[in-house]
């Protein structure tokens, strides 16, 4: 929990993210929830707003749940386009501001707003609620959210220019309307935070009109007591090197590259573990490992509060081969802070750490990855020392200090 820092100006923070507990799905959701938990620990009252998709319920119906002192109000999204494509929704704005007023929130911390819409920023501001917007991806610059083109390749614009995006989306006028509305909303935020220098720099160079902006590096949950003992015990009894992959079997997360590399590798004396991060265990099937060398297994999703250390104690090398420049890379920090090696794609916020990791360029070939895997296998016992990373408590403390300046 956050230490001695607390807010003197604000009593009740409304945390908003497309997903929230009990739908703990994706890195931004973990950050939103863990920071919220520490704000709560620092004496603030916390209410959360998120979306849900329940076809039996009418659109905009709200369902509340409660855990660890935080009420989560999930608003049912209307049927229609995917959340990423929903950038403005007046009814959603009305619902969120209704919740904010009713629970008595006096400050808002907004995270990923896809599905909820950027209208929340002016909506909450109109109620006199200061707004902190924390950017987690490039949804504010890119209609496709991750700067990955329809053919699966990273677009690589720097800065992002709307005219170059025209070929990526079906409707150019809508692209301009979207950008115009999102930028107008960002302009009203009292503070915009970025998780890395990379995300900050690209956003600023691309003209994101964040009047006040800072880099607020994300935290992680540090390894718990007993982690390193368990890790050592496992390594002592398990002769094979174990690779770990967290995420879905998608091109954007680099799974086709991983699969092709493990199909080409010339040895099989290792294990692989993929974590099914989906909410319903639907992402992975054993048939997806067909033709891959080594012994592969599916690990069920885990929560930050349970299972995180168990997973990292069971692997030696994290494969982080995202095919876009991620703004942060939570799992990379979780791994290096636990003495787990990382093979990762170059660039973006995921490489802004102090550990030595093996890096490949985005778009690297399976042969290049096979070579890197071979090097790790040849150095089976070259386990690195843990690299200290910032904690969620520290992130929450910095956020509290920033709140005082609003």
């Amino acid at each position: 929990m956050a230490g001695s820092v607390t807010s003197t100006r604000f009593r009740h923070v409304l945390v908003v993210n497309v997903h929230f507990d009990p739908d703990n799905y994706g890195g931004a959701t973990i950050v939103a929830r863990e920071v919220a938990r520490h704000l709560r620990g620092a004496g603030m009252r916390v209410s959360a707003v998120a979306t849900m998709q329940a076809e039996e319920l009418p659109p905009y119906a709200v369902v509340r749940s409660h855990r660890d002192g935080i009420d989560t109000f999930r608003i049912n999204m209307p049927p229609g386009p995917a959340p990423t494509a929903r950038f403005w929704d007046d009814q959603m704005t009305a619902r969120v501001t209704q919740i904010a007023a009713q629970v008595g929130a006096d400050v808002a911390h907004l995270h990923c707003l896809q599905g909820l819409g950027a209208g929340l920023i002016p909506g909450l501001k109109a109620q006199g609620i200061p707004v902190i917007l924390s950017i987690h991806d490039f949804w504010w610059l890119c209609q496709r959210q991750f700067m990955v083109q329809p053919d699966g390749r990273y677009c690589g614009q720097d800065p992002v220019r709307l005219r170059q995006c025209a070929g990526c989306v079906p409707n150019r006028p809508q692209l301009e309307e979207r950008s115009s509305k999102l930028f107008a909303a960002v302009r009203q935020a009292d503070l915009v935070t970025f998780p890395s220098a990379y995300a900050h720099g690209l956003s600023m160079r691309s003209g994101l009109p964040a009047r006040r902006n800072v880099i607020l590096e994300n935290g992680i949950n540090h390894p718990g007591p007993g982690f390193f003992d368990n890790q050592a015990a496992r390594r002592a009894t398990s002769p094979e090197l174990t690779f770990g992959f967290v995420g879905g079997p998608s091109a954007v997360k680099g799974w086709p590259l991983v699969r092709a590399a493990f199909q080409r590798i010339d040895r099989a004396d290792f294990r692989g573990i993929v974590v099914d991060g989906s909410l319903d265990g639907s992402w992975w099937r054993p048939s997806m490992f067909q033709g891959m060398r080594g012994e592969w297994q599916i690990h069920p999703r885990f929560e930050q509060s349970a299972g995180l250390d168990g997973f990292y104690a069971s692997i030696d090398v994290l494969l982080f081969l995202s095919q876009w420049r991620e703004t942060f890379g939570l799992v990379v920090r979780e791994a290096i802070s636990r003495g787990v090696r990382v093979i990762q794609t170059e660039g973006g916020g995921a490489t802004e750490h102090r550990a030595v990791s093996r890096r490949l360029p985005i778009g690297a070939s399976p042969e290049e990855l096979s070579e890197a895997l071979g090097q790790e296998l040849r150095n089976r016992d070259a386990h690195p020392a843990p690299v200290p990373c910032r904690s969620f408590a520290e992130q929450a403390e910095e956020l509290l200090l920033l709140m005082e300046t609003l």
């Binding site: 009990p22 849900m52 009418p58 369902v63 409660h66």
Partner: protein, 431 residues
């Protein structure tokens, strides 16, 4: 005495018994459900995906399961803010005004937030529940939607109040009513009574609009029952302008309003007196507002030309209609249903600055000071005396009307006053 396990009845016999007890539709539903289950368990059924779960009858069904699987089924009741959510059967505007909108006045006077939703609007009703510390169901009938709201309130740990203003749960009150309802409607209401009582039984406390209704509920339920009378809200205390009395002008005008069917039974107690009153002076008029008094309320053909029927519009228009008259008639038959009637017609008249001539039935005597703010007419001679008194007044009853309006403001304007609301209810809302 030892009980043996009964032999399982053959399916056909069971179906016959379901059809007899619950109706043909329920029996056919059971057959379909049974068939679905059997087919889902068969090899063929599994192969074609027939084993997939049927859609929940509750819109929240899958969400409840999702919350339960994730260990967050129960929501903690908000402790920092008190906020009342009302989910109402809102198809009757007048009832909604008195029982729902006026509850907002009480909640606010108790320092609570307030939100109300029509029970048919699931998005708003469910949303209101999520942000509430207390919930009130007004006049909800049993059904999947009501059970869903109730279960959701329990999931969220909310105390639940049931509110109503008619003895819809009481077969004696319904069958004892002297209103002229068709037999089929009386049976419909009587058949609905056990279901309404079941919903009331599932709530923590009951609030009702009259002392007689309190007693009626107590005879059925071992639940706290609170009196919450209707009161004069701000809208009723706004000045209503009517024509000034003109001595020697058009004849005296009476008005009678009805919001439900079959009110001619109520009129029976006063009909001869009214007919005589109209017949004495062809310049006198009777205005009938609303429905339930069709065919000129069965009045004698000779006076029908003096009777005007107008529809109920909205509340301000209704008060203006009352103000067109010199006195407001509220005849009520002396029966167990009317025993539970509130004094809203008296309040409406007072709001328009007009006195009532009313039967001393239900809660009306609590709101009428005989000879000061109106007349209480016990029987036919009472009605004749009251009408004669009105006719003898040069001010056409305006002084009584003004006194009624002043009494309304002084005695019935505070929703939290002991006269209006039981202290137990304000304590319940504060808990």
């Amino acid at each position: 005495m030892a009980y043996g396990v009964p032999n399982p009845l053959p399916l056909a016999s069971r179906l016959r018994s379901i059809a007899r007890e619950e109706g043909t539709r329920a029996a056919l539903g059971r057959v379909a459900n049974y068939g679905r289950i059997r087919l889902a368990q068969s090899t063929v059924g599994k192969a074609v995906g027939f084993g997939a779960a049927a859609r929940s009858i509750y819109a929240l069904g899958p969400t409840w399961q999702h919350l339960a699987k994730n260990g967050v089924f129960f929501g903690a009741r908000p402790v920092e803010q008190r906020h009342l959510a009302v989910i109402a059967e809102a198809s009757l505007p007048q009832c909604t005004r008195y029982r729902v909108e006026q509850m907002a006045g009480l909640a606010r006077s108790c320092g609570m937030g307030f939100a109300a939703a029509d029970q048919r609007d699931e998005a708003e009703a469910l949303t209101a529940l999520q942000m509430a510390s207390h919930v009130m169901f007004y006049r909800l009938e049993p059904g999947a939607r009501t059970w869903m709201y109730l279960y959701e309130a329990r999931r969220l740990g909310l105390p639940v109040l049931y509110d109503l203003d008619d003895p819809l749960f009481s077969v004696p009150a319904i069958t004892g009513s002297r209103v002229s309802l068709p037999e089929i409607l009386t049976r419909h209401f009587a058949d609905a009574a056990p279901g309404i009582l079941a919903v009331m039984s599932a709530c923590d406390a009951i609030s009702v609009s009259t002392p007689a209704l309190v007693e009626a509920v107590r005879s059925f339920l071992p639940r706290p029952v609170f009196l919450r009378r209707n009161y004069a809200d701000q809208g009723m205390l706004e000045p209503v302008t009517g024509p000034a009395p003109v001595p020697g002008g058009p004849g005296l005008t009476l008005v009678l309003a009805s919001g439900s069917d079959g009110r001619s039974g109520d009129l029976a107690v006063a009909r001869p007196a009214i007919e005589r009153f109209l017949a004495e002076d062809r310049g006198r008029r009777l205005i009938l507002i609303g429905h339930g008094l069709d065919h000129h309320a069965g009045l004698a053909p000779a006076v029908v030309p003096q009777v005007t029927q107008v529809p109920f519009l909205d509340y301000p228009a209704y008060l203006a209609q009352l103000a067109e008259a010199d006195a407001v008639l509220v005849p009520l038959a002396d029966d167990p249903f009317n025993l539970c009637k509130s004094a809203v017609r008296v309040f409406d008249a007072a709001s328009a600055g007009r006195p009532v001539i009313a039967s001393p039935c239900g809660d009306l005597p609590a709101a009428v000071r005989h000879g000061e703010t109106g007349w209480l007419a016990e029987d036919l001679s009472g009605w004749e005396a009251a009408l004669a008194d009105l006719a003898g007044r040069a001010d056409r009853g305006r002084r009584l009307g003004h006194a009624a309006r002043e009494a309304l403001r002084q005695d019935w304007g505070d929703p939290a006053a002991a006269r209006v609301t039981d202290a137990g209810l304000t304590e319940w809302l504060a808990a």
